[in-house]
């Protein structure tokens, strides 16, 4: 199965990245290619529905789950079967957060590997910047 990994760091504490990762309604602010996000319609699968940029008539239900350690949140597209596993790790000395992502692409979507790599790289850095922008100034004293 085609896959790739990417990672970056941010000066933002883990809480600020966590808030952006766990609130799908804010994905359009940092996830390239995501135009809008809506709560799931009753009777539909998934935790939220994503509409890709330029395709307002193509609802794509997504599932969002954290692993048992809580260090990783996995977002799975229930239509295309792409899986994005995001990892958060506080940097030593509470000096920010390392954000990693592992992406798995099913064989039938393998042709999207390069575009996904570019999109996720840009999204990762956008996530880091946005988290840093919303972070509190360092505690005084």
């Amino acid at each position: 199965m085609p896959s790739f990994d990417d990672e970056t760091t941010t000066t933002a504490p883990v809480e600020e990245v966590w808030k952006l990762l766990y609130d799908p309604s804010r994905f359009p602010q940092w996830w390239r290619g995501v135009e809008t996000v809506e709560p799931p319609a009753p009777g539909t699968e998934g935790d939220y529905t994503m509409y890709p940029e330029g395709y307002p008539d193509f609802p794509m239900p997504q599932a969002l789950r954290a692993d048992t350690s809580g260090h990783q949140v996995t977002i799975s597209c229930l239509v295309s079967d792409l899986v994005f596993a995001w990892r958060l790790e506080p940097l030593p000395g509470d000096d920010g957060t390392r954000i990693g992502v592992h992406v798995e692409i099913p064989e039938h979507e393998a042709h999207r590997l390069d575009t996904q790599r570019d999109a996720i790289s840009a999204s990762l850095r956008s996530l880091a910047q946005r988290a840093a922008a919303t972070a509190a100034p360092p505690a005084r004293g």
């Binding site: 504490p13 709560p39 009753p42 009777g43 506080p90």
Partner: protein
């Protein structure tokens, strides 16, 4: 020998021995009245027993075991003392069944453990014990004991294996409220029972209905629909089974967001008249959860109280009483009846203590902790929530940590509150947690932490962030929220998340930053 005075009927059943009885009375050691015949004093009885040669004592126990009309446990003790182990084990199983019927799950467990001492590894007794553990809320023990029982049943004995899986599906669906395991057990039951041509339609219908409920709650809705169609084709009219079918249809409607229809199905289930404590509990508590989700809090409270009354009549089983009291408490808080909520929580704790089950005790600590935070008793709330988390209470851990962080922040313990917020981000998150709700709450508590540090600018930003997050959330939770509680936590929704009320709380804290000019 009998350990108590014998009734006249029991004495007669021992055979014609008038001379013996007269001699015994003339000795002055015995007494006889309208109630029965026995030693004058326990010490006399003990002394007499100590002098009996063991073979004679065994023979007398055997005679008594055959004739006394006492509870099954008493009969079993005589049979055991007579060396009739199989008969004693059978009576102990009967005693356990009697105990379970009146909600004495702890006593039932003890009887079955004693029976298993006599017949180690007996699969029927192991299954009974697994059920008794389930009724005591001891999920892990129930699972392990079920596994032991299944290992003892021949893999080719499909009828017995199917019946065992069906029993397990029943307690997973009912008292343990664990849909994912019910899916597995109902499916295994059907796979086995479908291989036994003589299985009756009622048994198949029960497995189908339980499977449909579990698929609707936590599995594949299309599979649930298939099972519901199979149920209709079986045409079974038994009230208990009709209840299960109504329950499955209610869950399917909840899954698809048709909450009013789901309430109607639960009402049908109650009207069907099935009599088991689990089913009555489930129908009332789910009706209450649905009414609360629709914003009809007083009606929800009424349903929860009906549920408690019904469960009370059936023995006050702790695993059923604990969540009902918790649900009442949550609804009472929502109605600002804090003192009544405290009474409900006290009753919840009493039921949990009666069960002795650590899982129920941890739940009671958690629920009381949440009440304390809601009532402004932050010190006690923080302590209780900390204990519940340490004890591994089956609750939403991120939600419990956020409540604890709020309590600490409101106490001015900003560093501890901040550490608790960090812990929130390291907890696993399930559907029941509704991640956007966690985000909105976390921002709110961050605002309170900033407030505790007199950082008005940061507090303002965090409160605005939280308010925006609450405004983005839909007003009424869909059926999915209710089902997520059953699936992830194994208990009904105590009270729905109400974004408008949460927003009001944030705005109230925001106003503390900008007091009106006097």
């Amino acid at each position: 020998m009998a350990g108590r005075p014998l009734t006249h009927a029991e004495l007669d059943a021992l055979g014609p021995q008038p001379q013996d009885a007269v001699a015994a009375l003339e000795s002055g050691l015995f007494t006889a009245d309208r109630a029965g015949f026995g030693f004058r004093h326990q010490l006399l009885l003990d002394a007499a027993l100590a002098q009996l040669p063991p073979p004679r004592a065994r023979a007398l126990h055997g005679e008594l075991g055959a004739v006394i009309a006492g509870p099954a446990a008493e009969v079993a003790r005589h049979l055991r003392a007579a060396g009739q182990d199989d008969a004693a084990a059978q009576r102990l199983a009967g005693a356990a069944s009697e105990a379970l019927r009146v909600g004495a799950a702890t006593e039932a467990t003890a009887f079955l453990q004693e029976a298993l001492d006599l017949r180690p590894g007996d699969p029927a007794l192991l299954l009974d014990l697994a059920q008794a553990y389930a009724y005591n809320g001891r999920r892990d023990d129930a699972e392990a004991t079920l596994e032991r029982a299944l290992r003892r049943i021949d893999s080719a004995d499909h009828a017995t294996r199917g019946a065992a899986h069906l029993r397990a599906a029943r307690w997973h669906a009912g008292v343990l409220c664990w849909p994912r395991r019910t899916v597995e057990e109902a499916s295994l039951a059907l796979a086995a029972l479908d291989r036994v041509p003589e299985t009756d339609a009622r048994t198949i219908a029960e497995a189908v209905a339980l499977g449909a409920w579990a698929e609707a709650a936590a599995g594949d809705p299309a599979r649930a629909e298939q099972l519901l169609r199979r149920f209709d084709a079986l045409g079974v009219e038994d009230p208990d089974i009709r209840y299960e079918n109504a329950n499955a249809r209610a869950c399917q409607a909840m899954r698809q967001g048709r909450l009013e229809e789901a309430m109607d199905h639960f009402a049908e289930g109650i009207a069907a008249g099935g009599g088991s404590p689990d089913t009555i509990y489930a129908a009332w508590t789910n009706r209450a959860a649905l009414a609360a989700a629709l914003g009809r809090i007083a009606e929800a409270l009424d349903y929860a109280e009906h549920g408690l009354a019904a469960v009370h009549d059936l023995g006050d089983l702790p695993p059923l009483v604990v969540p009902l009291h918790a649900q009442r408490a949550t609804l009472l808080v929502r109605l600002d009846r804090i003192d009544d909520a405290r009474a409900a929580i006290a009753a919840e704790r009493e039921a949990a203590e009666r069960s002795g089950a650590p899982s129920l005790l941890a739940l009671a600590e958690h629920d009381e902790g949440l009440l304390c935070v809601a009532a402004g008793e932050y010190e006690r709330g923080a302590a209780l929530l900390s204990r519940a988390l340490d004890q591994g209470a089956a609750v939403s851990r991120p939600v419990a940590r956020l409540a604890r962080a709020e309590a600490l922040a409101r106490l001015g313990r900003a560093d501890e509150a901040e550490a608790e917020l960090r812990a929130v981000t390291l907890e696993p998150v399930h559907a029941v947690d509704r991640p956007p709700v966690l985000v909105a709450r976390l921002s709110h508590v961050q605002g309170l932490v900033a407030l505790a540090r007199d950082d008005a600018d940061l507090a303002t930003r965090r409160f605005e962030e939280s308010a925006a997050a609450w405004r983005r959330l839909p007003t009424v939770g869909a059926g999915g929220e209710l089902l997520a509680n059953l699936v992830d936590l194994g208990r009904p929704t105590l009270g729905p998340v109400e974004p408008a009320r949460e927003l009001d709380r944030v705005l109230a804290d925001q106003r503390r930053l900008a007091p009106l000019p006097t």
